[in-house]
């Protein structure tokens, strides 16, 4: 696990791991940075698909539920108007679509984020939430010193075996 003071050093280190054919490195950052995410290969997220599915499920179940409850009334005087009033039901469906889509987005985020940090538990350093950057590189024990030296060359302020 190498710790860097500057974002540019981290980017250089990520490129270096690629050049040395060391795969599966995990980058840490104190803030969102598109360059780091691209360099680290974190380009896709399932959150959007989950959100879409949540929204569709919410709207469909809201429509089904409201129509079903209206049909449960033993008698309903509607003065010649349609029994199922679509405009108000669409309002309810819209609100529930937003609610379930938002809930699905958050649940998908929590599940995906938990999966993303699997295997990084012992490597985390509190300075990573302040101003420093990190790179966790999985490699054979025999190559640890070589990779560590390479990280130092890239500007790592410290590195350790975890």
């Amino acid at each position: 696990m190498a710790i860097f003071e500057r974002r540019d050093d981290l980017l250089a280190a990520i490129a270096e791991t690629g050049a040395r054919r060391v795969g599966g490195a995990t980058a840490f950052a104190p803030a969102f940075d598109e360059r780091i995410l691209r360099a680290a290969g974190a380009t896709d997220s399932p959150v959007a698909s989950w959100t879409l599915a949540g929204g569709i499920a919410g709207a469909a179940s809201a429509l089904a539920f409201t129509v079903w409850t209206i049909r449960q009334w033993p008698t309903l005087v509607v003065s010649g108007k349609p029994l199922i009033p679509w405009p108000p039901l669409l309002i309810i469906a819209f609100e529930l679509m937003i609610l379930t889509a938002a809930a699905a987005a958050v649940i998908a985020f929590l599940v995906s984020a938990r999966r993303a940090r699997r295997g990084t538990r012992g490597a985390y350093d509190p300075s990573l939430s302040d101003a420093r950057f990190g790179l966790l590189i999985p490699c054979e024990p025999a190559r640890a010193a070589e990779i560590g030296d390479a990280m130092t060359m890239c500007g790592a302020v410290t590195w350790r075996i975890v």
Binding site: P30, A105, R117, Y124, A131
Partner: protein, 455 residues
């Protein structure tokens, strides 16, 4: 600390990021004299809303007759306040979600306060329909569930739309607020010990800041912002339909939805100034919430004021042009009847006073910003009052006209609601990072040039 921007940006990026963490975490460690001011304000608010809670208990014991509500005005100060507080809740979302989607970076410093204000304002607004029910313990009849009465709720009723919309708004706003806090909670966790660390460890949900975590975080945050942007418009449109779908002169208007949405954003922005002008001193975050940020809010206020004035003009024009005598009579009543002082006060506070913000000197004067924000909020409450009460007081038949005046009990509850709002706002903002740390650092990284990085 200074009022000039750039104090943090002038530092090298690593130092600037460390400074952000240090400054924002310092807001969680209350020291005298801030400690005294903070807990004094919290205690005062607790006292005032406790009095209001006693009044509510008295109202439950004796009945709604202690209010001024009587036929024909059965919606009074409680419903007025409900609409007012829901309006306040809207600006938090505007600042946070819509400005985020529009990449207006100045939102960052104000986003946390605005989102917190949203949640607390919805909590405050939600009390009023329950107060208005009289038999508050039956509020759950709004929820559709199988029951022994054999009845389902009427989904065609705007009141059910309202409950659904406001409930959704609260949940989604809370999720949006909490999601943005997760990386900041992790920063607090890593710099605390004992019970504080125990709490923030749980709140941070295991956040470590890996690249993949940031990707999922950003996707979820952007999607929530997009969902909230449409939600904010729909919620206040639905609140306006509580009125617009009724055939009451002064209410039955197609412009009500956009008119209410604009009014909501206007009052919310004003409340943000009311909170943040003193708040940036109390929390000592003047390097982050600078005079430039407050000036931007003032500029938005001018734009919203002009839109609101256009809505007023449009309503008045069509009341005259469409030739409906009841609609015309309603407007003559508003301008010259028993509620005329409030009508003119509304125009003065919402259409005339904000024009002072056209002057750069006024926009950059914190005293003027604070004073005008209070004026605007008074104007917005009186606007809601005129819409709700004056319309009911002067409907079709002269024999059913009436007058409504809030009683001392209602005024006490209204004061209590303001205290309730401030109490929760102060408690929350004083115990979470008051400025979004991760997002402020993101801005610093974004503006930093790349040095010798291989392509």
């Amino acid at each position: 600390m200074s009022d000039e921007p750039g104090a943090v940006q002038a530092l090298p990026v690593p130092d600037a990021m460390r400074r952000v963490t240090r400054d924002v975490l310092a807001t969680l460690e209350w020291r005298i004299p801030s400690w005294l001011a903070y807990w004094g304000a919290v205690g005062l608010c607790l006292f005032v809303w406790s009095i209001a809670a006693l009044v509510w208990a008295y109202q439950i014991y004796t009945g709604l007759h202690i209010t001024g509500m009587l036929h024909p005005v059965m919606w009074g100060a409680y419903i007025t306040s409900f609409v007012f507080w829901i309006g306040i809740a809207h600006s938090g979302t505007l600042i946070s979600a819509i400005l985020f989607l529009l990449r207006a970076h100045w939102r960052t410093s104000l986003a946390r306060a605005a989102e917190t204000m949203t949640i607390v304002a919805v909590m405050t607004a939600g009390i009023f329909p329950i107060l208005h029910l009289g038999r508050a313990w039956l509020f759950y009849w709004l929820v559709p569930y199988p029951n022994e009465r054999g009845l389902w709720v009427n989904f065609s009723s705007p009141l059910i739309w309202d409950a659904t919309a406001v409930g959704t708004y609260f949940v989604v706003s809370f999720l949006f607020w909490f999601l943005a806090l997760i990386p900041d909670f992790a920063a607090v966790r890593d710099r605390s010990s004992g019970w504080k660390r125990w709490i923030f460890e749980r709140l941070a949900l295991g956040w470590t800041g890996t690249a993949a975590e940031w990707r999922h975080f950003r996707t979820a945050y952007t999607l929530l912002a997009a969902l909230i942007a449409v939600l904010v418009v729909s919620v206040h449109s639905i609140v306006s339909w509580d009125f617009a779908v009724a055939v009451v002169p002064g209410w039955h208007s197609t412009i009500f939805a956009p008119y209410f949405v604009v009014g909501a954003i206007f009052s919310g922005l004003a409340m943000l100034l009311t909170l943040m002008v003193p708040g940036r001193f109390l929390l000592e975050i003047r390097d982050y919430v600078t005079i430039d940020h407050l000036e931007n809010v003032a500029k938005l206020l001018v734009a919203m004021s002009l839109l609101l004035t256009y809505s007023y003009g449009s309503e008045m024009f069509f009341a005259w042009y469409r030739g409906d005598p009841f609609e015309r009579a309603q407007w003559v009543f508003r301008a010259g009847g028993g509620y005329a002082p409030l009508f003119w006060l509304t125009l003065l506070c919402n259409s005339v006073a904000p024009l002072a913000f056209l002057s750069r000197r006024v926009r950059r004067n914190t005293t003027a910003l604070f004073a005008l924000s209070i004026v605007i909020n008074v104007g917005m409450w009186s606007e809601r009052f005129v819409i709700v009460v004056a319309s009911l007081a002067h409907e079709y038949n002269a024999y059913s006209w009436g007058t409504y005046r809030p009683t001392v009990f209602e005024w006490t509850v209204l004061a209590g609601s303001a205290a309730w709002f401030l109490f929760w706002f102060l408690l929350l903002i004083g115990h979470i990072p008051a400025v979004p740390m991760a997002e402020t650092k993101e801005r610093l990284l974004e503006t930093a040039p790349l040095e010798g990085v291989p392509a």
